[in-house]
Amino acid sequence: MKYIDEFRDKEIVFKLLEKISSLTKKEIFLMEVCGGHTWAIQKFGIPSLLPNNIKLLSGPGCPVCVTSKKFIDQAIAYSRLKDVIITTFGDLIRVPGSTSSLNLEKSRGADIRIVYSILDALQIANENPSKKIIFLGIGFETTAPSSAVGILNAASKRLTNFFLFSSHKIMPPAMAALIDEGVTINGYLAPGHVSTITGSHIYDDIPAKYGVGCVISGFEPTDILQSIYMLVKQVVGNKFSVEIQYKRVVKPEGNIKAQEIMKEVFRLRDDWWRGLGTIKNSGLCVNEKFSNFDAEKMIQVYVEETKEETGCICGEILKGLKTPPQCKLFATVCTTSNPVGACMVSHEGACNAYYRFNK
């Protein structure tokens, strides 16, 4: 298939691998921030091909994984309200809350619908004027613009029964927080789809402040390997910068229109990340101007006290401090069919990918 096969060319893959090997024998730790990268790396079996000195760590870029348990608990509480329809991406419904999950609530009769876009949720709002439709907004700069468009559409249609419950987050503060915490990272494989929206400048601080390189990478095997090569080259040359590997999609300035829409609808707030705790100015909540569409402002609900699971080390895994097999629950108590932590739920989660492709 054109534009796919070229990027999976075995010959190019092996040439890149040779080039990576020839650069250094020194141990280098690279973090793939994005869950999409984690998934692609495992799916193509890239770890089995890389030289042993190049270690890939999975980062906090899986939307479902970093979403706080409190958010899940509140979504569950909303779903128990009689006049509410919850609309959500599919992965989220399996994430365990403190005492229940959206999946369990659905089986008990809650109206929870899996949608593939916020526009489907708007359609449901249109068709059900007597119900309150809440869309669970998760994800980073990749999904936040579409949530923003959803709100703008709802406003222009004067919908009064559509609400966004936002857990949207932005990537750079979490990447800085990881280095601040002392996680050994020699380079970031930065998410290509985030930079499609934001451009490359959002990472400028990371090489400048921390001496850690960022290469914005595509998602095909040759993209990933070329990005690894570029990062290793930065480490070996001790010259750190933000580079774009995914040039066929990412422009340095990003998608200005999407950035403007996000700015119009959202504002920054401190946000809680699973495993990383509260990170300053890392979350997106709905601006005052659109507070009529903000579930948190408009729909009051009692939320039970959030209880963290014991034994699950999702937090350390999201920080790249530990790998899934180091968790005592991994593949014993915690499996893809019975996930304890969020990292086992989403197919972008490090535990899920490790369980499915390496166990």
Binding site: K10, V13, F44, P221, T336, K359
Partner: protein
């Protein structure tokens, strides 16, 4: 005849009687069914019987390449055939939602009759229930099937004769059915010409068995895709297998749709694909026969049984890497971003 199915069509009274006579008996036409006895009375000249059942629920009930009725015949015929049995008789039970279009039911019944004829089996008994509006989604069908099996083929379904070095074959492209259904649901507004691969494979399988080659294992890769079959195969028989991803064919349209949605075609449903294990030395002979059949013309060797990593299916990825193939815990979902 009314244009819609009414509750009365399942009541056992006159409406039911007419429905059976004017629709089911008319289309499924055979002497055993015509007797309309409480049980179908069968003469089976064997002590070795294969017996299977499956219920069919599909949305939408009509899709490119078939409909729920064709699926209900092919599915059960294939379950018998892959066990090494010769499918003979089917039962059919319909659970119909009140108000369902009679015309659509007739279309479905007629394609069941056509598929039964093609497969060379008889539909000999059945049942109809009509439920209140909203209590089922249009139409559910259950079919059960009986086939006769020769003693020597009994090891095919268990795979007990599998040995290291055996080759793994599939009879064509994967993931067509699942993606045809997705497209028919208007999922993601795709305009494609993807067709379900829904087909009865008993004739192909008969031709394979007639080669007298030792078929070590056979199973149809339906829900859960070929990945699920390969995982079951390794786990149940404690063998290791290695699959070469570049050998597994996926049609361009299906691949494009899978790529866009983030689906792995290995986990997408098929309705006309079998995974077959053969000793290395008999592969050529069997493949030559398979390639003569319309449902086997694209058959290909995709991997082999290996004597390491017992209990695991390992995939040699298209770029030359290696990883495990695991069963999915749940339905595949499109990626978030």
């Amino acid at each position: 005849m009314e244009s819609n199915i009414l509750l009365g069509h399942g009541s056992g009274g006159k409406l039911s009687h007419n429905l059976i006579k004017d629709l089911f008996v008319k289309y499924f036409d055979n002497p055993i069914l015509k007797q309309q006895t409480d049980s179908a009375l069968l003469n089976i000249d064997s002590n070795n019987i294969a017996f299977t059942t499956d219920s069919y629920i599909v949305d939408p009930i009509f899709f490119p390449g078939g409909n729920i009725g064709k699926l209900a015949v092919c599915g059960t015929v294939n379950d018998l055939a892959v066990s090494g049995a010769i499918p003979k008789y089917l039962s059919v039970s319909f659970i119909i939602e009140e108000g369902f279009s009679f015309k659509e039911l007739e279309t479905i019944v007629s394609s069941m009759a056509k598929e039964a004829k093609r497969a060379g089996i008889l539909i000999v008994t059945g049942d109809t229930k009509v439920v209140n509006k909203g209590q089922c989604d249009k139409l559910f069908i259950n079919t059960s099937g009986i086939g006769i099996i020769e003693e020597k083929y009994k090891s095919i379904s268990t795979g007990e004769k599998i040995k290291s070095g055996d080759k793994i074959i599939i009879n064509g492209t994967i993931a067509d059915h699942g993606m045809a259904i997705m497209a028919a649901r208007n999922f993601g507004n795709f305009k494609t010409d993807i067709k379900s691969d829904c087909a009865s494979l008993n004739h192909l399988i008969k031709e394979i068995l007639n080669t007298n080659c030792l078929v070590k294992f056979m199973r149809d890769a339906t829900r859960g895709g070929i990945a699920t079959i390969l995982c079951e195969l390794t786990e149940n028989n404690n063998i290791g297998i290695e699959i070469d991803e570049s050998k597994v064919a996926v049609s361009e349209n299906v691949r494009g749709m899978c790529e866009l949605l983030g689906f792995d075609p290995f986990y997408v449903a098929n309705e006309g694909k079998i995974i077959l294990l053969l000793p290395d030395e008999e592969v050529d002979k069997v493949m030559a026969v398979m390639k003569q059949n319309e449902f086997g013309k694209d058959s290909v060797v995709i991997g082999e049984v290996v004597d390491n990593h017992n209990g695991k299916a390992v995939l040699k990825t298209e770029i030359g890497g290696k990883r495990i193939i695991d069963m999915l815990a749940d339905e595949q979902l499109p990626r978030i971003c």
